[in-house]
């Protein structure tokens, strides 16, 4: 096994990982970034509509409104100390990105352009705020490339196409990771004083998703396998507007620019669910509203469905009244995506859409400074950090607002990078327990010898289909119990997979098998948490427990994997400072 030593090792090269790396490198300390794909391929690039900050370039915005909206959007499960930091530091983080060279769209005065986004309001809910700072509908893409280019400037060492296989934590001290060199084959041990996860979300557990093939939540399971907990995993956000049948994102910025949602009668049905904000309600509410329209028989039908008398299973996103010129100017990517993946000209006809698994509110529990914690008292693991979508601070609580994710990733990536830079002088290269790196060898051996009868793609498809059926927007106890059995049965079958490719170099079949192992492990945690949480809050909506239950459930779940493989839940109180929970109306 080849050994490397870096003071800080960051896993994941999206917005959070690269933003953190820059902060460490700025202090002259040694930092390396591992990523299973090239940094510029990271899924942050798929963020479209904008990054929230109360710059007030086009209205009278301020950070308190942003904080309130974030807390209300979270259905009061978000920790308010984290929400306050997010809202307060956002303008500084945006200006800094602009100073780095991020090519934001501009207002007529030459300032950063801002647009409306779901759930973002002025004056505590009065009317929509222009808060999302954008670069057309390529915001995530330009931010990712800007940060990648800054990493080049700072000479940060990348290990691209390295897949982490094993995280070494013992006695609540992190000692580094073992990674597989995908391109050449072979295990590499990375000893580090500080290790950070920035590995993104877990949307690939679902059939219909905006997420990239790479979003298999590897980091979450790597952390959980060491005995550390995951927080609030039951909260999975469904974005209201994914392209029908393939789930590809159509930004909320489309509605921010004025697009309508229509049912089969051509009615703007959001008036029934969010009379003030209409299409700009928060995502959980809009996704539920769409699903309710479909469930009540008001969904739109394809020609084929009409012929066969099958009820409609999608609704329309109508952009036609915006006109082709405006679409091409402010939503050029949406314009292309509708043509390439929905087969419609969005300037002339409405685009068929359906809710799509999008964002993972749950993740690796961290303090407001990005330190990974191991219990409900916020005690942290020495030398282990996390930020971005794989982490749970928790700032998004039960439902994240649009344009708060690229903000969370850059802002908390920066904060976590600063924490690491500050801690490094007091951290050492910890001793490696004898048997630890070998665990990675045993695991890789298992893949290369796997010659069972089960097919990786089939198990993955069954997992995604059944998660979609039983654990998506509306959930019910019985269905969740069924799903828990299904996931456990798939885990059993996974033990008997067979792989054809025995090459060491560029063996993507082994990589996909490894990713499936992670998907199966944390999907069980999602379902388990969803079954235990007997209330409806934010993105977690139980038809058998339709109300929010603050008395029993205003708390975070911490899920541990016990040595015998069972899941155990602990609970962590929500931090409430400025805004007491109240009924959530839009």
């Amino acid at each position: 096994m080849i050994t490397h030593q870096h003071e800080a090792v960051i896993i994941g090269a999206g917005l959070a990982g690269m933003r953190a790396a820059i902060e460490v490198a700025k202090t002259g300390q040694d930092c390396a970034v591992l990523s299973k794909i090239f940094p510029s391929r990271s899924h942050s690039s798929a963020a479209q509509g904008g990054t929230g900050a109360s710059l007030g370039n086009l209205d009278d915005d301020n950070w308190e409104f942003h904080m309130f909206d974030t807390v209300k959007g979270s259905d009061y499960l978000g920790d308010q100390d984290a929400a306050e930091i997010l809202a307060k530091e956002a303008p500084e983080v945006i200006y800094e990105l602009e100073h780095m060279g991020a090519p934001f769209s501009r207002t007529p005065e030459g300032k950063i352009a801002q647009r409306k986004f779901g759930g973002h309001t002025l004056n505590f809910g009065e009317k929509p705020a222009l808060r999302a700072c954008y670069a057309a509908d390529y915001t995530g893409h330009v931010l990712l490339h800007t940060l990648f280019e800054q990493c080049i400037k700072y000479g940060i060492r990348f290990y691209a196409e390295f897949q982490v296989v094993h995280l070494i934590v013992k006695d609540n001290v992190c000692r580094g990771v073992v990674a597989w060199d995908v391109r050449h084959g072979g295990l590499h041990l990375f000893r580090a004083k500080a290790t950070m996860f920035a590995t993104g979300g877990y949307g690939r557990a679902f059939r219909i998703t905006t997420n990239a093939h790479a979003n298999t939540g590897d980091g979450l399971n790597l952390v959980m396998r060491t005995g550390l907990p995951l927080e609030d995993m039951e909260f999975v956000q469904f974005h209201p507007t994914g392209i029908y049948r393939n789930g590809i994102l159509m930004t909320e910025g489309a509605r921010g620019e004025g697009a309508y949602l229509l049912n089969k009668d051509g009615e703007r049905f959001m008036k029934r669910y969010a009379p003030t904000l209409m299409e700009l309600g928060p995502r959980d509410l809009v996704a539920r509203s769409i699903q309710t329209e479909i469930n009540k028989g008001r969904g739109c039908q394809t020609e084929e469905q009409k012929k066969q008398g099958i009820p409609g299973d999608h609704v329309y996103l109508d952009l036609t009244h915006l006109g082709e010129a405006r679409l091409r100017e402010v939503l050029p990517q949406i314009f292309e995506l509708a043509r390439n993946f929905a087969g419609v000209d969005p300037a002339k006809e409405p685009t068929p859409i359906q809710p799509t698994a999008h964002y993972s509110m749950g993740g690796i529990p961290v303090t407001i400074n990005g330190e990974v914690i191991y219990n409900a008292d916020n005690d942290s693991v020495r030398g282990l950090y996390a930020a971005g979508e794989c982490a749970c601070i928790s700032v998004h609580g039960a439902n994240r607002l649009g344009c708060n994710s690229t903000l969370d990733a850059t802002l908390n990536g920066r904060r976590t990078g600063r924490t690491i830079a500050k801690h490094l002088p007091d951290l050492i290269y910890e001793e490696l327990p004898d048997d630890e790196p070998e665990k990675a060898e045993i695991e890789m051996d298992w893949y290369f010898k796997a010659d069972g009868s089960e097919n990786v793609a089939d198990i993955r498809n069954e997992l995604q289909d059944t998660m979609m059926q039983n654990c998506a927007i509306f959930r019910k106890g019985e269905e969740l119990k069924t799903q828990l059995d299904i996931v456990r049965e798939l885990q059993e079958r996974y033990q008997n997979i067979g792989l054809q490719d025995k090459s060491q170099a560029f063996n993507t079949e082994v990589m996909e098998a490894m990713e499936l192992g992670h998907l199966l492990a944390f999907s069980e945690v999602i379902v388990y948490g969803a079954l235990e949480r007997k209330e409806s809050r934010g993105a977690h909506s139980r038809t058998d427990y339709p109300d929010r239950d603050d008395k029993n459930w205003l708390k975070h779940t911490l899920a541990y994997r016990e040595p015998d493989g069972k899941i155990r839940l602990e609970f962590k109180p929500v931090v409430i400072t400025r805004f007491q929970p109240k009924e959530r109306k839009y």
Partner: protein, 234 residues
Amino acid sequence: MKKTYRIFRFDSAKPKQKHYDTFKVETAKGETVLDVLIEIKAHHDGSLVFRRSCRHGICGSCAMQINGLNMLACETQVEMLKDNTITVDPLPGFKPIRDLAVDMDPFYEKLHSILPFLINPDSPPTDKERLQSEEDHRKIELATSCILCGGCTSSCPSFWADKDYLGPAALLKAYRYVFDTRDVGLNERLPMLDNKHGLWRCHTIMNCNDACPKHIFPTEDISHLKRKVVEEKY
């Protein structure tokens, strides 16, 4: 619809055994060449190697040659391809590693060499953005949508002839910064741009314009860059 796919197979460990494998795959309306590759890997041959991630044209992983043209597999719908046999090759001009995956390191090295970051020694304003007019922003906007898929550079005959040529992707990035009103780094970039493997290797063949999945016209931006360098230096 059922079509035949001829897929290039290669393993750098056994370079002499390169060949094509043929698969027959059924696809539904709207399915893409990437969907076909995923299906082949799932149920025909698990050892097929290709890169992919976002599957909607923003990550830039799956650029490859489809029926002789550089395209993103994820954006290429099968029904748009007229032939019944579809040939899939790795991006030309780059060293193949396995099957459809090529060595992108030289591509990235060239990108690094043109200093792809904002150069401006003046401190930016505190607690404010630098101002830039909408018009000035528009000059670089299209160039900033480059996804670094490599399709343009790989399609360029000048690059095939001179592997040290920066290529359209790196030059486009240089354009994106040189023409950014906030940047003053032209002189620092000049040695890389103004040499025999730099700007002047572009002979306006324009293959890059056809290859770009984001509808950028690198040739046009490279021409602007040439003019700028002439004005600056001569």
